[in-house]
Amino acid sequence: MCRLALKSSDTPFSPYEVLLAMEAMQEGYDGSGLGLLMRGVQFTDFNYEKDKQVILSGIAHTEEALSRLNGLMENRGFVQKYDHEFTVHPELIEASDRFKYIVRVYRKPENMDEADLEEYLMQTRLFLRKDGEEHGGDLTVFSFWSDVVMIKEVGWPLAVGDALSLDDNRIMARVVMAQGRQNTNYGINLYACHPFFIQGISTMTNGENTAFVPIKEWLEGKNIPGYTGYQSDSEVFTHILHYVTRKLKLPLQVYKHVITPLKSEELKNHPQGDFLQGLRVACRRLIIDGPNAVIATLPDETSMLVMDAKKMRPAIVGGKPGTWAIASEMCGMMAMVPDRDPAFDFQPMREHTVIIPPDRKELQIWTQFDPFTLPQAA
């Protein structure tokens, strides 16, 4: 089973704090990997400007791949502004083919409207990934987006943090999400490691999505660029969130209604029952199954936690104004925000969506039984 930890704070903090929480929950994973995502990023050595710059995260496994990457990025019109050099202790890393961990800041191309830019960034990420795959997997690219840094590696989470010296405070963030354990259900692969990312949207999951294959087949059939990969059954959670909010342009509340719709008898009494019943039928192939706790973060630094429809996984959210955390286990929560009042911790049930809004003042808890604003169908 995987372990999940997320911390969101007004003041940037070291990602190592979240790795310590992972260590607290260490009993629950097998040391097969770490996935880490940071938003609200701050570098000690560089003044990062979110509005003007984008960040590429990945691994160049050979020198040749790195020089190829330089050329490819130049050809696609990206000017490099900063290259974060991790202080690496290679002896702590299991794998031996890690030439360079890439966290690079590029200037946003000018004269491109927002929608075009978002498309271009994703296409560039997919292009680089494909290029790496075509060269025997010598280049791995996790994200290419504004204000997002991603690190994925095989090994024990804390050991990976030590190997990359993440405790040196040279890189800090306001939102950090981490997942420990590779997707050992399907085979170890860096791309199979949570969190997953598409166009600013990221999710990580604790569980097993047993409806994976039919969902994957449906998403692939949409022919939407970026709906590829699927080395892990949990990747579809990210793409469903992207599809619901970006393609269908529905409010965030609807995500839970799509992946775990209410029963027919419950919808009969729901103020938007008619709409939701129709939506459930139209999005029937996106209904997830199995035990799952899904944690998501969005470009505006919103964080979200939802459970599967039977609440078969634990997950807890807690904190204090300004600092909040989500963890799959209570001990992870204790490690991240020890000075909170545990009486206000919340363990969501099957119908809940918990939101940590960007202002981080208080938690929002939505239930599926409540109506929500839906201007389109009004």
Partner: protein
Amino acid sequence: MDSVRSVYTSPSSLTYCDLPWIIQHREDRCTLCGRCTAVCPVNAIYLTYRRQRVPKLDVLKKKRGNEYRHFVGIRQHTSIEKKCIGCGMCSSVCPNEAIGPVPNTNEHRTVFHQNQKGEAWKRGGRRNKSGATILDRIAFDRISMLTDPALDAGRHEFSLNTILGRVLPPEEFLRRKMAGEWIPPTREIFPFIIGSMSFGALSPNMWLGLLQGVAYCNEVLGIPVVMATGEGGCPPWVLKSPFLKYIILQIASGYFGWDEIIRAIPEMQCDPAAIEIKYGQGAKPGDGGLLMWFKVSKLIARLRGVPEGVDLPSPPVHQTLYSIEESVMKMIQTLSMAFGFRVPVYPKISGSTSAKAVLNNLVRNPYAGGLLIDGIDGGTGAAYNVSMDATGHPIASNLRECYLDLVAQGRQNEIPLFAAGGIGKNGNVTQNGMALIMLGASGVHMGKYIMQACAGCLGNEMGRCNVCNIGICPKGITSQNPKLYRRLDPDDVAQRVADVFMAIRTEMKKIMAPLGRSQSLPIGMSDALGIDDADVAKRLNIKYIC
């Protein structure tokens, strides 16, 4: 001793050893009550006097002689039309367990003589091919119990229902919802459906029992079972009753019964579950429906608007139609309109390599509510033996091919595929149905299994009984003769319908729980399937296991 004189044997002269079923009669137990001979549906046995010569030699008196013993016994006719069908009604009425049919394990000769007077062999039942089917051999092998906490089939809640009807892509659904436009009707139903068996093919008691059972499943057990009528309409009292919502009305090439249906529309209290347009049937592709004259009783004649006692062969195709494109357009749209666009309308076709062509046509028709494919193992009330045994396409690969075609187009949620033909052929109804669902079916239709499980149909895949076509069903399931169908109590049938669907519901959970599925029917979950045959695995695009 009699000498053998010139013996004349006609080409079709057979002895009882040549027949598929041999009557075994124990004279020491027989009470000569005659019940067996009275009940035999084909008059295969008769009571007869026999003489037995006992040679007698008195050594002391040096005298030879004979004694003759006379006795009464049961004997078997050997003519083709009176050959034993193995139904076993004789044993069921015998007070002393003195009689019963035994299958002839040797090859039997009747198959060469079933065409007397040039009439090719017609029968009921389905393809006579016994043994495990491909579906029987599929195992559900992706057990998530090992990787994540499992579900409890006994305690957890399961969503087992499926959707019948056209489903819009999410983008189009939202657009139409916003614009207030028409959204195609859908029904939430139980994925195991009682397949088309007409009022005419089935006896009134059987039909009533099924309907009672279906209503009980819906209204008391909360299992939304629906049943299809088959061609031949529906009794007017049902059309005007609230039970119509559990019924899929079929329209086929003979249009039998549709006068009554159309006339009843203004008085209907609710809409039917769906309309099924039959273009073909798995048991006899390219052949129309057939109700033989034996079964066209006064009631059936009235319902179908025909004279009594005449054969009712439906044409092989819909006569008003010219091509599949036209039929899809005309009939689906016309029937949608007749019910105010509130009822899903879908075609039923026989399994065939051309099924994909029909499917692709339906994908582009905004009114098509699904596609039902009936494979070669489908049953029928009456068909030519050659059609049943040799014509058609097995359902597994046909369904899978169509589903993967939809997947390639990203349309697998839009046109639900339903599968039929041999589901539960060897009794493994839930396993067969779930295998098809995981291969891509949204649900399955079953007819023969329902007759066997809910009414005690005696037919099997080795030629047992199979006389549904001539109205002499010994159980009263497929007869229009009141003397026969009064043997069947509708209440008992209803009870068995409830038993069957409760058991299927439990077995579905027992299959889904280990796979970690409970929130939705695992349609297309092919990663859960494996089969011990590499070629089949390759063809169905599932795992080979051994």
